[in-house]
Symmetry: C2
DNA sequence: GGCACCCCGTGACATCTGTCATGTCCCACC
DNA sequence: GGTGGGACATGACAGATGTCACGGGGTGCC
């Protein structure tokens, strides 16, 4: 019998984080040795506590779980990465895997899968919801360029073209062109719909 | 010493729900006797399991936790109601209290407050985050009329005026007028911003 | 070197949005 | 019975938005 698995838990909502810790605490072979509430605290904590597995929520202040996964993957390649998220957005899955994640779980899944995933990634397996994987493959990659994404993201809360132009140091016309191409690529009819679709797919 | 407190847990994300159950299971005087994932299953489950306290998430399929709270409050007035939510939107707090909730907790709060709130509501106390209560009082009630809210909600994912008119059986002009008044009431400059603000305040 | 693709810009044009004035109908309240 | 307010509508108008055609510059690939 080997020693217990040392887990880091990163999730911004205290109640959920501590509840997940309680859940994992019921397992004999798993120990939650560190908890953080921000994406930009993950790397330091992972190093300081010599963790085996990092469990990362995507939606966090400071840095997203995906960004944090990338950092840990580069700096501490021995640490296994489990990305946990509310939304099963195919785009999220894709970027999580590109960032070096070993497992991708949605919070909709039964709780038992959490401990199971921790054990599996440590055994070298990859854990991905098959339905989600199929969806990610079916819809292909994010068609938007960096700039288009940036403009769309900035437009998400209702800024006008002039405000966008000022904020991004572009001309009004360029902003309109980016939004126009984004609208065409997403096959919708206006920026609001484009934001809505991009968000849903995890492309934003 | 009295018998254990019988709790119903309503939350759509299995992993979070089971984790919260694990957390409450650590308390000697609390027993989670029922779990549901949909708002429209709350009332039946509360009746069937003779629960003392119902713990309700707001964002759920079928019916929101607030709607479910209203049903339980009317049908089973003896059941105490704790509303639990991701977003500390003042508008949510207001409508939860109007629906008869005894406690309002945000998932950002420390996990210990959950069990504490369950015990307090059973003792007849009301539990509300003071900061949130102040915010709710400071910003006043939802200024939008039913129709304005309806139109704004329908416009949220980027539908055009013509589509809104068709969907809501109104004329294009009327839709524009509703959106226009909503925009003025929220003191913003376009519909997208209005959606963004209304959502943030829990008015949508 | 040619080619594709992204970045950034302009100007013209049609359409969509948001505002305003104005009106009717119905309901609630005093 | 008057007054207010919400629901619904129209028409006119300015300004914002989306499309299109057209440029230039840069990078990377064959």
């Amino acid at each position: 019998m080997s020693r217990t698995i040392r887990v880091l838990l990163a999730e911004d909502q205290s109640m959920v984080r501590e509840a997940l810790a309680a859940l994992l605490g019921l397992e004999d072979d798993i120990e939650v040795v560190a908890q953080v509430a921000r994406g930009d605290e993950v790397l330091d904590a992972a190093r300081a506590h010599a963790v085996d597995v990092a469990l990362l929520d995507i939606e966090m202040p400071g840095a997203t779980g995906i960004e944090a996964a990338g950092q840990v993957h580069r700096e501490l390649p021995g640490v296994k990465l489990v990305v946990l998220t509310t939304f099963g957005r195919p785009g999220y899955l894709r970027s999580a895997m590109e960032a070096g994640a070993d497992a991708f779980l949605v919070k909709d899944a039964p709780a038992a899968q959490l401990a199971a995933a921790v054990r599996k990634v440590l055994a070298g397996e990859r854990v991905i919801d098959p339905t989600l994987a199929a969806a990610a493959l079916a819809e292909g990659a994010n068609p938007l360029t960096d700039r288009e994404r940036e403009v769309l993201r900035a437009a998400a809360d209702g800024a006008t073209n002039a405000e966008l132009a000022a904020a991004l140091h572009l001309s009004r016309g360029t902003v309109r062109n980016y939004l126009s191409t984004a609208i065409q690529k997403l096959a919708v009819r206006n920026r609001a719909e484009a934001v809505s679709i991009a968000r849903e797919k995890g492309w934003l």
